[in-house]
Symmetry: D4
Subunit: 218 residues, 8 copies
């Protein structure tokens, strides 16, 4: 009663991006099969939310596989169809605990050849840290803002800078932080105009939203 | 089957404050009776969340009654046992929509003879408005911060100033603002340390928390 | 005890947009005062979520005021600093019940001089209606997708087209629709990559997110 | 203080189906006792949500036991009273992560002798995958649609095909997916008419709903 | 800036049913226009959740319009393409407060020519009332079970009878009834197997689910 | 398409109590019909949650009807089958805002001939008020405790007195009081042992729980 | 920085019961100290929710300790002050998965010398199982009803029998069962009158509520 | 792709306190690096919510590190800039299960040189335990009240004493305790005036709120 996985290869033609593989709910066997199939089509394999344990099995098979432990991502091969653009993305983060989400976004952008820079630990509890970086951040074309707890960082940046802002709530905190739900609702209710929001911890999605902008406008 | 209301007159002796009367769930008849009883004890009547319609009935009876429509509060007589202190409270608010809550806090403090000042519309979406006032705010002894939507104002102030901060979430906004719940959770999860929080729209409670501090430490 | 409203005039300088006025929680008097102040600075007045009743008072004062009843928006004067761009926005909507949200987005974009077109009633329950329009929609640079109930429209479009997609959940429906919360969560959990999401019914915010993109990339 | 389990043997007479045994909350000892009792009545034992560990203990006792690991189901013996019908059920699934739920439904249907086919990975993010299968699916009499994340698959199929549709939300996803709650609410609020919904991950229940239809109408 | 409503006329061809018009969120003007358009295609107009006030406007225009006040439905013209089947539907209800939901289901079924009967006030708090009717209910081919409060009726019937059961939670009750949410969750978690569930108060949807079964199996 | 209401007359025989009529969701016409039917069986009519407006219609028809406005209850005729017991119930309430719930319980008990007394405004914010009454309350056989806001009254009484305690959360308060949900959860999580809890505002139910005890144990 | 635990020995005098020790959140060391202290006062030690691992440590110290693994309770010594009453309690349960809760209630009652009997697996999905026992259950003085999933058992029994009913929702089930929350809300919203409810899984509390009744009325 | 952590050293200048390090979401490597950096600035390292396992690694490196296992806190070095004040803080707790939260608050206060005392196990279920300590508690200047379950302790103390009260809900309990959410909402809705509330389990934050008061008013 084996049931085959069908990969969405045509996505590349339709929207210009390949399908990423969600590693958390797949078995090692499923990951092996889908990786093999993707590679046979000369496409890059990009697996997100993959545990170290699962990653080891794939690293053992594919020489050109690379596991990014802190980002929980595994890449096999290389994405040959990069986006040609000189646009740059800044990934801004409220605290060092947001690292995994930040790195997932960074890896995704770099896989498509997009230049990006991280601005870590510029949370609003120490406003000077943010204000000291604001001139540097101003030079980037799209801003991805990751923040847990109360997520106020997105609002403050949204009031200071005119670029497209993609906010990512992070499941850091305790009690009423509710695994990122408070940061999410806070970002959606922001009094700064035009901030758009992703699902909790969805660094990959934020990168994709940035790529949609860069690809369409370059 | 009439049931009498018993007012907590001894509260003055125990904790130094009189009981405020919650006007929203009481009938006009109940408000009349309890007011009469309180006045007969030479105490001031302080009713919160009272509608214009209910207020009219009490204004018709008591010459020394005063209705504060925007604050939805009604005061009959005067509080003769004020708190003797030169401490000052700043009430800071993110937007003009927080007015009713702000005023409820102000009225309460003034009834006890405490000096207070309002700083309105200093929301974080326009950070300069806040930063321009920060030196002025620094001079106050207790800060009450009222904010709706994502409530980021409390976090930003908490990171800039050392005073006691009492945050009041306000039921302004729509959608995921959830009638103040998002501002509440945001304030409770604040990455700025030592911010204490009141129930949604509880301007009266914030003033009482400030009064507890001032009374105990003056 | 009157408290003045301070308008964020510097926002124009910082991020290039003016502050919109949230009409729902302001009194007629507050709306009058803030309008007068904004006009005195030669800026356009843009009030959202304003009732017909409140609008009448402002229409009586300002000759150049215009009320858009279905969008619940009121504009006084004209925005003289438009964005110069030939980029176009498509506003796509699942049902005719989403009209108010759709129109709020449209008005906002047009106020900044951006060309936009509405594609109404292309819900996924009748997939052919959407597929019949997909070639037309393909020509637009940014897509705003409004949908209530289960919000599946954003996912289907996200899988078919490569542009930036700004999804707006709409508070249409009953029972577990939960006033737009289900559409919101559905859009945030979308299996199509890179869809960014706004607060429920936030047509204005979606337009602002599109303007951020167009302004930064034109 | 041993407390006996009483199995609902009369269910076969009343509604034509046997009771399945919910394995998750039962101890190995309880599973052993109830299995023995059921077998002594010449009925088939069908245990759902049973771990590999618990299954091993039963496989060691009963030669004719079979454990379906991916479906987390264990069957001992054979169901001798099958439903005589040539009606067929299609089980359609949005992603390979829905596999366990899909298989639970499939096993249940096959135990009653009903012909069924799985259509896996036809999620709406790649609409062509679904549209390419729609003619094949059209030939089935009842459709079970399993989907996690935003659950849009049920709506799209409901708008394209006239058969009875039983939707099963799956607890796949993260953040606002809320362990299947978003897919559930999405399916219940579907703008496609007449879709009926089961509890999250309830593949067994979906099969039972299909069996009720087939049994009553064959 | 008028935006046309596009009706899904092809739905009849695809799935055999016409689109019902959701009256609650549409303006009188929108209802007038869509009704006119539907009638021009020789189709029946079926509007659900329409207020008495809105209905009056349509009754004034169309002679062959009929308003069912308790069901909050309005029908203009006649559905000429009925379903030819001798299958019968029983609509069972826990209390007289569920009337509107019950009637909406009944009207929908009758519009398609399906024979149906209502069994009202057979709630489980008085089990004998239900047991006294069970033989009569047994003769129907599909059972629609409407219940508010704790929704236990669906479970009890599901344990007694083998037919397809479509459960409709009703927004009757107070406190933790949560406008039907408790009945909904209760029906979804039912310990009786194979009960499928609709959105809260969705009598129309339940009828459509029944029609899908009857149409496919007759 | 009239649908008759069937009253549960046999409830008197089964459990010794008559069915109360829930007035909130019934039309005037339904109330008239069910009242007539109940009276024809020589039973007392007891309607809860009935508005003044609906009550007037019934008062106009039945001479022996009595409307208790603050309790929102209407009684027609007299309950002739009272419970013979000398047991007494104390109804204790945290604030005068809980009045309607308190009175609903009182009326229900008195209809069955049970002696009861109200202890109003003994909230825990003024502990002395409660402690001053504790000796008096000690003499009652069953305690019904009604409280809104944080519902702490039930816990304090539960720690002081040994009688059966039936706690009723009341939908008084604002913000996180959540219409009684916080009081409900607070009572259910009480650190005092053996407190049993009713639905929010369910004064009638609390009286019925007390009657079950008194009837079974007298 | 050791902090002593103070046991509430006076509870026995005030309300006649001893304090049970909540084992889940206490360390082994804390359990050891509090047990020693309680025993030194010649009282029985009754620990609930204690793991096998923690229990072992206490069994090693106290010869007269007994661990009830399925109930997760540990008793050291004997309760010498039993309640003298011939009243009997029936503990009725919907499924064998409710066993731990059922046993916790049983142990508590027996510790106070109260006669009780368990009726297991009489869930409403197989109504006959319940109806077959109803005459037996009728003979008991207080009914404790434990049920998970949709909790309908309490409603059905409440409609059939006149005794005091204490309902205990059980955290059995999956998906929308929400760890017992659905059963809880279902029991609180029951259409059967006078059912009182405990916190989820609170078998101990249910027994205490029964003991309050029996003690006060015997 | 290493990303540096930037510590907020200027916080000491702005608000007079150092930044505490949230240990739960940081890796051992991150903790090592940030500790080293902080020590190099002659500041004390204060890590909260740090596991025994992580603590061991730091204890191995720093001789002057001390791990407080029950408080889950680790301190390296000494805070040389204490607050000079003779004000005292009482930390009052409802049960011994609140220990970790209580100790986190105590450690924080002592690090700043503030005198504080713990009052443990004075829960309201045994009111006499609290009343017996009330005279002692009266002598403290600020009260921190920690309580889980229904959190009634804060309300009772708030009604008895005039000092500033900082309430900390604790995630102790089960079922509807909801990991501290019920205690939180209970404290926020308290009928005692002027109680301010912290996030669930936030002992550190409560201490910081107390320090803000003491520092500003000494």
């Amino acid at each position: 009663m084996t049931l085959d996985i069908r990969f969405d290869f045509e996505r590349r033609d339709r929207i210009g991006f390949i399908e990423a593989i969600w590693g958390a709910d797949k078995s090692i066997d499923q990951l092996k099969r889908v990786s093999k199939e993707v590679l046979s089509q000369k496409e890059v394999v990009f697996i997100t939310r993959v545990s170290k344990y699962k990653a080891k099995h794939l690293l053992g098979i594919h020489e050109n596989a690379k596991f990014y432990e802190e980002a929980k991502c595994l890449i096999i091969g290389e994405n040959l169809k990069k986006i040609s653009s000189n646009k740059k993305v800044a990934i801004i983060s409220g605290g060092s605990s947001d690292l995994a989400v930040t790195l997932e976004a960074k890896l995704t952008l770099e896989m498509y050849g997009i230049n990006c820079e991280s601005f870590i630990d510029v949370g609003v509890a120490g406003l000077h840290r943010l204000l000291g970086q604001i001139e540097a951040i101003k030079k980037y074309d799209v801003l991805i803002v990751c923040a847990g707890m109360e997520g106020a960082l997105a609002t403050v940046i949204g009031g200071l800078l005119p670029q497209p802002i993609i906010a990512v709530p992070v499941s850091v905190g305790y009690g009423v932080s509710k695994n990122g739900e408070t940061a999410l609702n806070s970002m959606l209710s922001s009094c700064s105009p035009g901030i758009s929001v992703m699902n909790i911890d969805n660094g990959y999605g934020a990168a994709m939203a940035a790529l949609r902008i860069i690809k369409s406008f370059s």
